[in-house]
Symmetry: C2
Subunit: 310 residues, 2 copies
């Protein structure tokens, strides 16, 4: 069954409001699985295919693709093929960045999402290649989706490339970690913000609405997420977030708690979420999206540390 | 000056037959430099930008993009924007693969093109990111080239993704090096052949002629290049080819000389080149292309070891 058929089957169902997120999440997993199956086709090296799967499944919170689908839903385009394929591609890029970020030459993280990091499970060489292959697969998934008009595919690819590469994408963000003179805002925007911006921008492209206001929403969310992540790194435990904590201090990286104190960091987080909610442009599902963001904020500020890692 | 202007300036000149390769090569360097400049734009991490430049300049023989342009020329489309941008993207993917292949978890090569490998010059972390950023840049360069029709860009992107990722691209080829049970033909086709096939297929797309016969030519060239590379690894010196020799034996990799002996490997190389020349489809510049391949073969079989490394 092709990606299109899966989407059609799901969209043909009738959901209650409470069921939708569950089914949307399940659909995302199926589409990710489908994308990986093409990479694991016969004739390829099986260990690399397994390492790629380990990098993507089981997933974390899938925050970025879920943000993409939430914005698309607010713009009445949740199940538009362009939103689905963008969500998949964004998660593949995110997984690629985690695999490379965990390598010994960066974080040297032993665990991710509560399991051994890819380089611990499969070796550094396969982890390196798994990241490379996932980057390629993210682009390939969009390129090959013939349900989308050519121009729409190119718009999505442009968003993905900007979010992944130089001078302002994830690679740039990780690159700032290798500089002695770091521009903090550039570092955070590139490393954490770029994929959140890609998620909201891609949703706008899928819904064929103006991108710029949604990019701003993505920027606020990315910044808020960075602050929340900094709080977790200082105050959570590896058991709760599925990866080592205290890494910012150990690696000499900037951290909002170190700069503002815990109370200050939490206040800053709330300010960012308020600004984000205020920035949501007029759209059919604006109220629902605001409610979702407010609910997510509650979790971030109170029980987030007990949720799965992103 | 934009990429388009550079191309137009060069194509407006009149070349003699002997001048063309020189100017074509110079144009390629300028286009590569232009592509890298976009990645090094203000606001990005400067050390990563420098590592990326180190990975691409000064270049080796630029065999893959030159093959792309040679096939495009044979099809009367040498300076078509699609051929130029494909040549650039293919070389960027090649450079990315070299940077990652040289890392300690793979070849641990200290030199490349007669200079320190990127990880030796800039550290493992920046070498990892330089490879990632170059992969993204390869796709981005094609995505953003508005001189090309959208459909043509997508065709080129499809070729690039297949050549770079899983299950049959460069990542797959390197992945075979991590398997205990290696399918030799799959390994060689993926690791070495994929970008040569991309070069000939992209040229066919640029010239808007049938791809399949040109893919076959690319396959022969890739196989021939692999055998020639195996011969160099056994019989050349690091000074002559700009990178360490004897790596296949040291790393327990398959090598045509080990399998067939030196005479057998050289005979096999000649057979592959003959098959390649016979496979060139009918096109305006068929005779010239055959002559180029025969000349290149002479170099491969006699003086290749004194030429710059690819």
């Amino acid at each position: 069954m092709c990606l299109y058929c899966i989407t059609q089957n799901v969209t043909s169902k009738h959901y209650t409001s409470s069921e939708t997120p569950v089914n949307s999440a399940a659909l995302l997993e199926r589409l990710l699985s489908r994308a990986l199956r093409s990479a694991a086709a016969e004739g390829g090296p099986p260990s690399l295919a397994a390492a790629i799967r380990h990098a993507v499944f089981p997933g974390g919170a899938r925050m970025r693709p879920r943000l993409c689908l939430a914005v698309a839903r607010a713009c009445a385009a949740e199940y538009a093929p362009a939103a689905m394929v963008a969500a998949v591609a964004i998660e593949l890029l995110h997984c690629a960045s985690l695999v490379h970020d965990d390598l010994p030459c960066f974080d040297n993280a032993s665990t991710r999402r509560g399991r051994p990091a890819v380089h611990r499970a499969y070796g550094e060489n396969l982890a390196l290649l798994a990241g490379d292959a996932l980057i390629v697969l993210a682009f390939q998934t969009v390129v090959l989706d013939e349900r989308l008009e050519a121009e729409q595919r190119l718009k999505l690819l442009q968003v993905l490339a900007a979010a992944a590469g130089m001078p302002h994408g994830i690679a740039a963000g990780q690159g700032w970690e290798c500089e002695s003179d770091v521009v903090l805002a550039d570092y955070q925007k590139s490393k954490t913000g770029s994929l959140f911006v890609a998620a909201t921008a891609a949703a706008a492209i899928a819904a064929q609405v103006e991108c710029a206001p949604w990019r701003k929403v993505g920027e606020y969310i990315g910044e808020a997420y960075q602050v929340a992540d900094d709080i977790c790194d200082v105050s959570s435990s590896p058991q709760l977030i599925g990866k080592p904590t205290g890494r910012d201090a150990a690696l000499g990286r900037p951290n909002a708690v170190a700069q503002l104190g815990m109370d200050g960091a939490q206040r800053h987080l709330q300010q960012l979420v308020d600004a984000c909610i205020a920035a949501i442009p007029c759209c059919p599902g604006r109220d629902e999206l605001r409610a979702q963001f407010e609910f997510a904020t509650q979790q971030l500020l109170t029980s987030r540390l007990a949720r799965p890692a992103a």
